[in-house]
């Protein structure tokens, strides 16, 4: 068992070091039966799940998910879950799963969502997705969420930060319990009509870049680091752990194959 929030009285104890990254399982309920989330972690391999991003009102949008060489370009299209949907339909289901579910939050709504859901059974914590910003602004955003909730708080950093170590350190100083990186890289893909789809690149294509940043941040901070960005195989996961990560998060690999978490978790357990 690992604790990703060792300094938080609520703790965030996970049974395996493999986490489903934000949105990789959608609202989670839709794939719960395929994953067997009512069973123990030894059946599905997941130590924790991070939900799709939740905003106050929820937004209907049209996400795009496009293949790229060795990767996938994703644009959320503005889609998010709403507080009402989470409270009335989802959280009661999440509470029945034998794996902690964290809620992904972002933007101006993040403190409100965190405060509203802070005492809700079935929610083990929050993951705040930060955009590309400086350390001062990161600290301000993290502190605002920390004031709203005492539950475990993971801060996810994007891949394009000029100084990821400074932002990670500032986030921890402002109250984050753990750092996750990288949440993809900005990219675009051409379309048949001559236009472009802009979004974030994930998949094995970005793994070497992610590994470098994880190693740098893990060496510099005194808090759990979650390695993500193209993790798709046991070898990728082992490399992230060797670089200092305490756990790995799967995104596109899990979207492509729900069995991937178990394959990686079993492999790490054997060693």
């Amino acid at each position: 068992m690992l604790d990703l929030a060792p300094h938080n009285p609520h703790t965030l104890t996970i049974a395996t070091p493999v986490i489903a990254a934000a949105g990789s399982l959608g609202d989670v309920v839709g794939v719960a039966r395929w994953l067997g989330l009512a069973q123990s972690a030894s059946d599905h391999g997941l130590g924790a799940i991070i939900s799709q991003t939740v905003t106050v009102a929820g937004k209907r949008g049209q996400p795009q998910f496009l293949p790229t060489p060795a990767g996938a370009l994703y644009h959320h299209g503005g889609a998010s879950l709403g507080l009402k949907q989470v409270r009335e339909r989802l959280v009661s289901r999440w509470a029945t799963y034998r794996v902690p579910v964290l809620v992904s939050i972002a933007g101006a709504d993040a403190p409100i969502v965190a405060e509203t859901l802070a005492d809700t059974a079935g929610i083990a914590g929050f993951e705040l997705a930060l955009p590309a910003l400086n350390a001062h602004e990161a600290a301000r955003q993290v502190a605002a969420v920390r004031r709203a909730t005492l539950l475990p708080l993971i801060v996810r950093l994007p891949g394009e930060l000029p100084d990821p170590i400074a932002v990670a350190q500032a986030s921890l100083n402002a109250g984050a319990d753990a750092i996750a990186l990288i949440g993809g890289l900005p990219a675009c893909m051409p379309q048949a009509d001559g236009g472009f789809v802009y979004g974030r690149l994930g998949g094995p294509a970005i793994f070497p870049f992610a590994l470098r940043l994880v190693a740098a941040v893990a060496a510099a901070v005194d808090a759990p680091v979650i390695g993500m960005g193209g993790v798709a195989t046991p070898e990728h996961a082992r490399a992230m752990l060797a670089a200092g990560a305490r756990a790995v998060a799967l995104a596109s690999a899990l979207v492509a194959d729900l069995r991937r978490a178990k394959i990686i978790a079993d492999s790490l357990r054997v060693r």
Partner: protein, 255 residues
């Protein structure tokens, strides 16, 4: 219920430009229904989106075989064409909405273009023993399923005039106006042809009841499990995902 299956290539043939592949997959063959799609890949790739979604063209539970028809112009499926007999592949078959003919249906019209044609082929094969089935297919020469894959009782109409040929086929007065005679119709179409399908049904039928016309909607299905939401369409019930809420929809519901 099972989601992932392993299959082996049993046989492969070329029908003009289309590649027909029979896979030995007994459990899948027992579970498969017309209108279902499979996500399909080889063992080796880690690319997250190299699971092309293909509609099944047939399934025979007695021989444990499922059939695919592959269009070599589809870049995501090109690698499948060269798979040797005996090669092992992985398949993911999520549960999805499937078409069940109404008990009163005697005459069933199936009409489609593009990647939905295998689904209509499968539907024709499964329903032809109890009903009069007409299968109208449109596309380009050399890319239409061959008639000999169908039971002899299925009437096949085809057009090589591309997409526009489909609506001429089903609304032509001679030999008969197929859309007027049908008790039910199932289209297999991409979203940009839905408006034409609705217009054709409106023009042909004075009354158009719920359940008369359905559509199997084609288009990319990146995850196939409702997670990525990239396949959403607008319906009268709000946005729905083609992969888990469809791909079969009542035509009256689709906007």
């Amino acid at each position: 219920m099972q989601l992932y299956y392993t299959a082996a290539v049993r046989e492969r043939r070329r029908f003009e430009h289309l590649i027909w592949v029979a896979l030995a997959a007994p459990e899948l063959a027992r579970a498969a229904q017309p209108g279902q799609f499979v996500l399909f890949r080889s063992w080796v790739s880690l690319d997250p989106l190299l699971w092309p979604a293909l509609f099944l063209a047939g399934a025979d539970p007695t021989t444990g075989t499922v059939e695919l028809l592959i269009d070599p112009r589809d870049p995501s499926g090109m690698w499948m064409i060269d798979l040797p007999v005996g090669a092992t592949v992985e398949l993911c078959m999520p549960s999805c909405a499937i078409f069940t003919p109404a008990p009163t249906t005697q005459t069933l019209l199936l009409a489609g273009v593009g990647s939905a044609l295998p689904a209509l082929l499968f539907l024709a094969r499964r329903t032809a023993d109890r009903r009069s089935v007409t299968l109208a297919l449109a596309g380009e020469a050399g890319f239409l399923p061959p008639p000999f894959l169908l039971p002899a009782t299925v009437e096949m109409l085809s057009s090589t005039d591309g997409e526009k040929g489909l609506f001429e086929l089903i609304t032509a007065p001679a030999p008969r106006h197929a859309l007027q005679w049908a008790d039910q119709v199932v289209f297999g179409l991409p979203s940009h042809l839905i408006g034409q399908a609705i217009a054709a049904v409106r023009a042909a039928r004075l009354r158009w009841e719920d359940g008369f016309a359905h559509v199997i909607m084609t288009g990319p299905l990146p995850c196939g499990l409702g997670v990525c939401q990239a396949c959403q369409i607008e319906t009268r019930q709000g946005r729905q995902r083609r992969c888990v809420d469809g791909p079969l929809f009542d035509l009256r519901v689709v906007r």
